[in-house]
């Protein structure tokens, strides 16, 4: 079966993201980011260090992965939970086509609810530095896309994708990422920071990772996550538990 994009799956996916309550959260996260950026700009003025810190610790570390988690699990987990995914799967189309199409929707959500707000927040914090905004936009897109692939795989692996995804973000990316420097080699957020630093040349995002490694690792997660999700979906079990 050839792997392409299915406009029908994209259309259904887009409607399903906003058809559930968690769709509201997608609107909430960028509002918090932009509100906070406005508040800080009002209180501290244009301060490069503060701007980078806020965009990094709130934007790249919290908003981007959470938007990716909400969008991706909202696209896959409910349909798998209630079995309605069978209507997509009982069709003569490649499972990878389904996954790719759903990921496109998820990455689209990341673009609208994380990448654009990140760029806007960067411009609010440092109005005259479009390079910083571009850097955080590209970093957010790369990190968000990798997170989407990761959470897509999680969604087909377990019924508790949201909880495990949150734990992963909290423990691995948050807690251990801050304590153990070695985690950077296996941290999507740290790769996103390295990519941001590379694009926003001249701004110190303080990431000790080569951009080559960060881009390569991001691509590996994106491709591997997509492929493994499709593979797992091929073995979807209608009767539930293994």
């Amino acid at each position: 079966m050839s792997v392409t994009l299915s406009p029908t799956v994209v259309r259904l996916g887009t409607r399903s993201v906003f058809g559930h309550k968690r769709g509201i959260l997608l609107f909430l996260l960028p509002v918090v980011l932009l509100g906070l950026a406005g508040l800080i700009r009002g209180l501290a003025g244009q301060d490069e260090r503060v701007a980078v810190d806020v965009l990094q610790s709130l934007g790249l570390t919290v908003v981007v992965p959470l938007v990716a988690l909400l969008a991706t699990t909202g696209l896959l987990a409910p349909e798998i939970d209630d079995g309605s995914v069978a209507y997509l799967l009982a069709k003569p189309i490649s499972r990878h086509t389904i996954v790719l199409s759903k990921l496109l929707v998820a990455i689209g959500c990341v673009f609208v609810f994380a990448v654009l707000p990140m760029a806007a927040a960067a411009l609010i914090l440092l109005t005259n530095e479009p390079r910083l905004a571009l850097g955080f936009a590209v970093g957010s897109l790369a990190g968000g896309a990798a997170y989407c692939a990761l959470f897509a795989f999680l969604s087909v692996l377990t019924r508790h994708a949201v909880v495990i995804g949150l734990l992963y973000l909290l423990v691995w990316e948050g807690l251990l990422g801050g304590l153990l420097d070695g985690v950077r080699w296996l941290s999507v957020t740290r790769w996103a920071r390295a990519i941001t630093e590379e694009v926003a040349a001249g701004f110190d995002v303080v990431e000790r990772l080569g951009p080559g490694y960060a881009i390569g690792a991001t691509l590996v997660v994106l491709v591997l996550g997509t492929w493994l999700t499709g593979r797992r979906l091929r073995a979807f079990n209608l009767t539930g538990d293994e």
């Binding site: 259309r11 409607r15 069978a86 009982a90 189309i93 091929r234 079990n237 009767t239």
Partner: protein, 304 residues
């Protein structure tokens, strides 16, 4: 013309056996998959629709394996038992989406035809979340028929339908069967199955208990020993004549009152009982079958 073949298929979940060494051939026409709840019917349908891998044995459609083979869905239509659908869509949008996913050249026309077939044209523009159970069932049918499959698998399709919808679906299945399609549906109600299917496959506790046309299955099920409890005006007197009747295998006078009767031939016993009671002048106060549950019928089938 398509044929599904199960060859020594077993499926277990850890240490629980859901389907145990089942071999059956489902050919053109309507086949009823009959069995009590938890007998393994849904597992069998999942195996036949490529949504479950057999632990051992093979499941094929015209010689092609069903597991991990997306191309079989060109021929297969599946109506799952679970009710979850894309509730945020209208019925029409849902069926059109199914037609598009099948890659049909004119999805809108195919969807209209399928919706008309299940008599949902009037409700097609309402969102699925507002549908009754029966309407959901019908829109599921439409989505599985939209590509005119040669094989149609339905898991408990009559659940939640009112009598009129039931009759309509039965007609539809019969028609599809006479068109030469391979139609298999599961049910736990014998009367439901025998109204539609000539061929019946009975599964009990994961095992293939019986197979044949509905007449043979009906005989198997009704010619078994039946137990009754009778309350009468004179238990001892009626018991003495019942025990002499050839339709009765055994009689027990219950200490708490009443007679327990085991009838060997249900048909003859039901004719003989009122006659004997009248002839002896014993008034029958109550006749209660004690093991009429479907499980006991199936248990008998398995042991025979």
């Amino acid at each position: 013309m398509s044929t599904i073949q199960l060859d020594h298929v077993s499926r277990w979940y850890r240490n629980v056996v859901a389907v145990n060494d089942v071999s059956m051939t489902i050919g053109p026409g309507v086949t009823g998959l009959l069995g009590p709840n938890g007998a393994g019917k849904s597992t069998l349908i999942a195996l036949m629709s490529g949504f479950l891998a057999p632990s051992t044995g093979t499941v094929t459609l015209d010689g092609e394996p069903l597991w991990r083979n997306e191309s079989v869905y060109r021929q297969v239509g599946l109506v799952p038992e679970r009710e979850a659908l894309f509730d945020y869509l209208t019925g029409r949008q849902f069926v059109v989406a199914n037609a598009e996913l099948h890659g049909l050249s004119d999805p809108a026309a195919a969807a209209q035809a399928a919706i008309a077939l299940v008599e949902m044209t009037d409700a097609q523009d309402r969102t699925i979340s507002t549908y009754s159970k029966g309407m959901r069932q019908r829109i599921k049918m439409a989505s599985s028929l939209v590509h005119e499959p040669s094989v149609l698998l339905l898991d408990e399709p009559f659940n939640g339908m009112d009598p009129r919808q039931r009759m309509h679906l039965m007609d539809l299945l019969r028609r599809m069967g006479t068109e030469g399609r391979t139609v298999l549906f599961s049910s736990h109600i014998l009367e439901e199955v025998e109204q539609v299917a000539r061929q019946i496959e009975v599964v009990v506790a994961g095992r293939h208990a019986a197979s044949g046309d509905f007449g043979a299955i009906r005989r198997l099920m009704t010619d078994r020993p039946n137990r009754f409890v009778l309350r009468t005006a004179d238990d001892r007197r009626l018991a003495s004549v019942l025990v002499a009747d050839p339709s009765v295998r055994g009689v027990l006078l219950r200490t708490e009152g009443g007679i327990e009767v085991e009838a060997g031939d249900f048909g003859r016993f039901s004719e003989a009982l009122p006659k004997l009671a009248r002839q002896e002048g014993v008034r029958l106060l109550e006749v209660t079958p004690t093991d009429e549950s479907l499980e006991s019928v199936f248990a008998y089938l398995v042991s025979s």
